[in-house]
């Protein structure tokens, strides 16, 4: 035991790889939040009236709300007047070609491994790059448009497709949903918008890359994905931030709507700056993600690998409204040092013969705390609903914690809900076994953790899976020996 303690007490020495700051001119407004600020944001974005109304309604609601305190998290007090709510890379009105984009900005995304030059792109991935709340560039937009697919920044969607935005915005996550969602509704600056028309199978992965750069800013982005009847799309989201001593707030909202027989796969590799070894700095990641299986036989899959952020509060959920709809939540959440995560999902079964699956793999190291919180609710009318949940926790060391909070509410007699949970410790004997075959302790930990998470990682699109595997390994580097 002592050996394991000494091994595991030597916590991450490796620096966060994405911790650089880009020196770029930013157009930002003063700190603080008021109705005036909401109006400024809306005006800066040149929004139609309905958007301003949406924001103001949300802001007024937010004023009456309190930060949720039910999560297994210790959140320091947040001064919402000490945050900048709008920061944008100073830019021309619109980029016509990449040549007009600030080279600093391009190099930022190149450093992150996201080249925006289309010819250099990995085949089959279209990228929307969002820096400090503003979409910088969306690639492959024209190719996709030929199929009728809309993939653009949220701001552009508001301008060019206001009818779609007005119809679906807030349908899944209404402004009064929760404290952070209300805040997001009031001040969100940009994000991604996807519309897949009827019968279209999106031929490439759509990907949004979020980057916080500016200091003292909050990032509030909004993603809206609509998959019309018989369509399919796979969407990826990645995120990083510079290393800073102060905490930064990220409160995003993602809404997915799947109509009849549509299928949406949403994969996230979340790697916001987690703070340093002592727990100083890092992103507060308070995110509301929800999908609505609106149509019959529609399918929504959430796949997430969470390794970043100082505090994560996130429950990608599904409302299975359409009969025979299917939802999955596959998650790996890794916490190290002083990170805290309270994450999980909600599966709300409303339609008949609906089926949901939850696979959650928590990994805790250092002094971190990692909780799974899940709700499975089967409405009275949701006959023959099925849910299977599996929640596993893996502990590394003596100072971390893992918690599981499953809530199950079943409103009828013919539905079946199963829940399995395990907690295990990474075995010293496993590490020694690897060592004895010539594999170093560091590599052994990476291997064992990846093996543990394999079920979920296998669900990710290929390139993401490789990145996720590396990330799991890097995030634990130095956590043992």
């Amino acid at each position: 035991m002592d050996n394991q303690n000494t091994l595991i007490n030597e916590v991450t020495d490796r620096d966060y790889r994405f911790g650089f700051v880009t020196d770029i001119e930013t157009d930002s407004i003063p700190k603080g939040l008021s109705e005036e600020v909401v109006r400024i944001i809306s005006a800066k974005k040149d929004e139609p009236e309905f958007m301003l109304e949406f924001r103001l309604k949300a802001y007024r609601k937010w004023l009456t709300m309190k930060m949720p305190d039910w999560a297994q998290l210790k959140i320091p007090e947040i001064d919402y007047q000490d945050i900048i709510y709008y920061a944008a890379p100073r830019q021309q009105a619109k980029y016509e070609s990449l040549d007009e984009v600030d080279p600093e900005l391009l190099s930022t995304f190149a450093k992150l491994g996201i080249p925006l030059e289309e010819q250099k792109m990995l085949a089959g991935v279209a990228v929307d790059a969002v820096m400090d709340s503003v979409s910088v560039k969306t690639t492959f937009k024209e190719n996709l448009a030929e199929l009728g697919i809309i993939f653009c920044s949220f701001s552009e969607a508001v301008k060019h497709h206001p009818d779609l935005v007005q119809k679906y915005l807030g349908m899944v996550v209404p402004p009064n949903d929760n404290f952070y969602a209300a805040l997001n509704c009031a001040v969100f600056s940009d994000g991604s918008f996807v519309y897949i028309p009827k019968g279209v199978r999106c031929p490439m992965e759509l990907s949004t890359y979020f980057r916080i750069n500016a200091k003292n800013t909050g990032q509030f982005e909004r993603t809206l994905i609509i998959a019309d009847n018989d369509s399919y799309v796979s969407y990826l989201e990645g995120c990083t931030a510079p290393m800073r001593d102060e905490n930064q707030l990220h409160a995003a909202v993602v809404e997915i709507i799947a109509l009849d027989r549509a299928e949406v796969k949403y994969s996230t590799v979340q790697n916001w700056y987690p703070g340093n070894k002592e727990g100083i700095g890092g992103i507060y990641n308070f995110v509301t993600k929800r999908g609505l299986c609106k149509g019959e036989s529609s399918k929504i899959y959430w796949n997430q690998v969470e390794t970043g952020s100082a505090i994560t509060w996130k429950y990608p959920s599904c409302i299975l409204a359409g009969d025979n709809s299917v939802a999955e939540f596959n998650s790996v959440a890794l916490t190290n040092n002083y990170q805290q995560a309270d994450t999980g999902t909600k599966m709300i079964h409303l339609g008949k013969n609906t089926k949901s699956t939850i696979v959650s793999k928590g990994i805790s190291a250092g002094h971190s705390s990692n909780s799974y919180r899940g709700l499975v609710r089967v409405a009275a009318k949701a006959e023959n609903a099925r849910n299977y949940s599996q929640c596993d926790s893996l502990l590394l060391g003596e100072h971390c914690g893992a918690h599981t909070f499953p809530y199950i509410e079943v409103g009828n007699q013919n539905s079946i809900v199963e829940h399995e949970a395990t907690t295990s410790k990474i075995g010293e004997d496993q590490i020694f076994y690897c060592n004895q075959r010539g594999i170093s302790t560091q590599d052994a930990i990476g291997m064992i953790v990846n093996g543990y998470a394999r079920e979920v990682i296998n669900k990710l699109p290929m390139e993401f899976a490789v990145e996720a595997q590396k990330l799991l390994q890097i995030s634990l580097e130095g956590s043992v020996g």
């Binding site: 075959r437 010539g438 594999i439 170093s440 302790t441 093996g451 543990y452």
Partner: protein, 250 residues
């Protein structure tokens, strides 16, 4: 290749090894026998670098280098292999991935080029045949759901892949039926080279019917109390360990 001088080691504060002296040369097979609790497995683990065992005194050199200063993975890369008494399961990690990493880590250490996937699979096929391991096993997670016999065969298969200079077989015969025992022993014999050596740690003589030792040592209360040639195996079989105790005047 291996010289052990006055080796003392503790487990959880209790002294288990109390002054082991042993020299092993290339080409030799040594059997270490002894009653339960005599320190056989402790010796195997100490040599392999298991940090649950604390060396309190003595020295061990491996090809002239100080073995005790090396971490477990470096010892392995230097060519020391331990066939585990209880092989460990690693869920979700495929045998192929595990072994490929192990083989290539060792190659890197010796400044050799890493094996490509194709070459690796080719070598693996050959070795699988050699040790008669079921082809399916290598597609599964490391030892997960393997039967006792499969686990032991898998150890010998890994040994074949890693081609160690010194192999220590810790109670490899335990839990094996006679057919599996023969296969395992056959594998070990096939891997014997003039430049390699083997230490067979066992409680019973039956494995030694198949892997014939050049030297037999009896370990008792943490010390080697008797060393002789292979005839000692039969004598022990006949007279039991009580005979040793009597000889020691207990």
């Amino acid at each position: 290749m291996l010289i052990i001088k006055d080796l003392h080691a503790n487990v959880e504060g209790k002294e288990i090894l109390r002054g082991i002296n042993l020299t092993i040369n290339a080409g030799e097979v040594h059997a270490i026998m002894g009653p339960n609790g005599s320190g056989k497995s402790t010796l195997a683990n100490v040599l392999a670098g298991n940090t649950n065992y604390e060396v309190t005194k003595g020295e061990v050199t491996f090809f002239g280098k100080n073995l005790l200063e090396m971490s477990a993975d470096v010892r392995a890369k230097e060519g020391l292999f331990l066939s585990f008494q209880y092989p460990v399961e690693i869920p979700g990690v495929s045998m192929i991935n595990f072994l490929k990493t192990a083989v290539n880590e060792s190659r890197k250490y010796h400044q050799l080029k890493e094996l490509s996937a194709g070459d690796f699979l080719k070598v693996m096929r050959e070795k699988k045949e050699m040790v008669q391991i079921d082809s399916q096993l290598t597609n599964r997670s490391v030892n997960e759901g393997f039967s006792g016999g499969e686990k032991k065969k898998n150890e010998i298969f890994q040994m074949a892949m890693l081609e160690p200079k010194l192999a220590i077989l810790d109670e490899t015969d335990s839990g094996l039926d006679i057919d599996a025992l023969r296969i395992v022993a056959n594998g070990v014999n096939l891997l014997k080279r003039p430049e390699n050596a083997t230490i067979v740690v066992t409680h019973y003589q039956r494995l030694l019917d198949y892997i014939v030792p050049d030297f037999v040592h009896v370990l008792y209360k943490g010390q080697i109390v008797k060393s002789a040639g292979k005839e000692l195996v039969l004598e022990l079989e006949e007279k039991g360990y009580d005979w040793i105790k009597k000889e020691l005047g207990e």
